[in-house]
Symmetry: C2
Subunit: 240 residues, 2 copies
């Protein structure tokens, strides 16, 4: 059976003004490795991979990969809505490091103290002047993209990602399990920033039953994800 | 005579926390084009090109190019100090879009209103929690890097860059001339974000006498800069 996959990869950029953005250190390497693992896997026939990423992220170049450039969290959500409502997608690998915050506006410390945090509307049209001393960026929370995916296509498998920094393994696994349950993921890849360096990348691939496999490179993680998806899709088509 | 060149290129990233940064849309393509133009120029013999850029910027790969990865505005300043104090540099092409602001800290709107803008020190250790509603980033101005260059090496030629957004040509040229005078640049490349799209890139290369040449692609700009540097260095060595 031909399978369609959707991968989100790399970081998001949230616009501050015409030239500045809030972005993150996500490189998109794991997303690339997952795309490669799907294309090289021999037991699954891939129809198409939708690859959603920011314009600065390196994307795979392959006839079966349709690269969709998205801008910001809202742009990602819009693209997901369109693709998931118009196409049968067998699995979504949501590895993109989506910004938790977007920019509500820019103001100054003085304005906040005087006016209670009202946004200076003119500031974000064009480029912010460079000669303000106490500039302040006001943030707002972005919608939780991962929570929308199963609502958009119930039957699609979903792999979520949880990145924490310098926590105990138990905390990491527990946090990832909560993400899994809350968003009805089929798998969550849990990883810690302090355990990623160069080719080394410790990752725990947690299944819905709470069991997990441990991997130690991006390639292992990518192949682990693809094998788990393949197995799950086979179980389903055999009605298990 | 063998010439050593220093190019700064691309954008800077200012750290917010362990995973987030404030960066800008600078791609570094103009810096790459300038490096290429120096290497391909037939009338100047290049000894070495020091190429200073952020870790996410694409840098040239060439035996004569030493890529120096810098982190943030302070990192750029530190690298410039070291290279300009230890080496004879004939020209500095400072095309990097240096952030005007770095992060002083992160706090909440409530904290500012209650405590007058004190920074929450714990927030920037590790990764900021994603469940705060009224998060605020406090900024501080970064040191003006361009003003340091002639202080570090008086004899080096200096090309500055001025990018504005959607202004009249006269405003752009006047602003660039002030940058030139203030920082003792030999040339300033003035450009407007609304006149850069794909390969098209309108740029005015202004000399210290206020005259300017107009270019319309990155390659033209790069070659114009290299030719102007070459000419100026020749005049100097002939004692004009």
């Amino acid at each position: 059976m031909v399978r369609n996959i959707l991968i989100t990869a790399g970081g998001t950029s949230e616009k501050i003004d015409e030239v500045r953005v809030i972005s993150n250190f996500a490189t998109g390497k794991l997303g690339l490795a997952v795309a490669k693992a799907f294309l090289e896997n021999e037991s699954m026939e891939i129809g198409k991979i939708y690859y959603l990423c920011d314009k600065s992220t390196h994307a795979p170049s392959h006839e079966k990969v349709e690269v969709v450039r998205v801008s910001g969290t809202q742009g990602l959500l819009d693209a997901l809505k369109q693709i998931l409502s118009e196409n049968k997608i067998d699995a979504v690998i949501h590895s993109m490091a989506v910004s938790d915050y977007s920019v509500r506006g820019v103001t100054t410390l003085e304005e906040i103290q005087n006016n209670g945090g009202e946004v200076h509307p003119g500031f974000i049209e064009g480029k912010i002047s460079s000669d303000i001393d106490d500039l302040v960026i006001l943030l707002k929370r972005t919608p939780k993209v991962i929570g929308e995916i199963k609502k958009l296509q119930e039957g699609s498998l979903l792999v979520g990602f949880k990145l924490l920094t310098n926590v105990e393994k138990k905390v990491l696994i527990d946090t990832a399990c909560r993400l899994l349950e809350k968003n009805r993921c089929d798998f969550v890849l849990a990883n810690d920033l302090t355990q990623i360096e160069g080719d080394k990348h410790i990752g725990y691939l947690i299944s819905a039953d709470g069991e997990y496999e441990t991997f130690s490179t991006k390639q292992q993680i990518a192949e682990g994800i693809v094998n788990s998806i393949d197995e799950k899709l086979r179980e389903r088509s055999h009605g298990l």
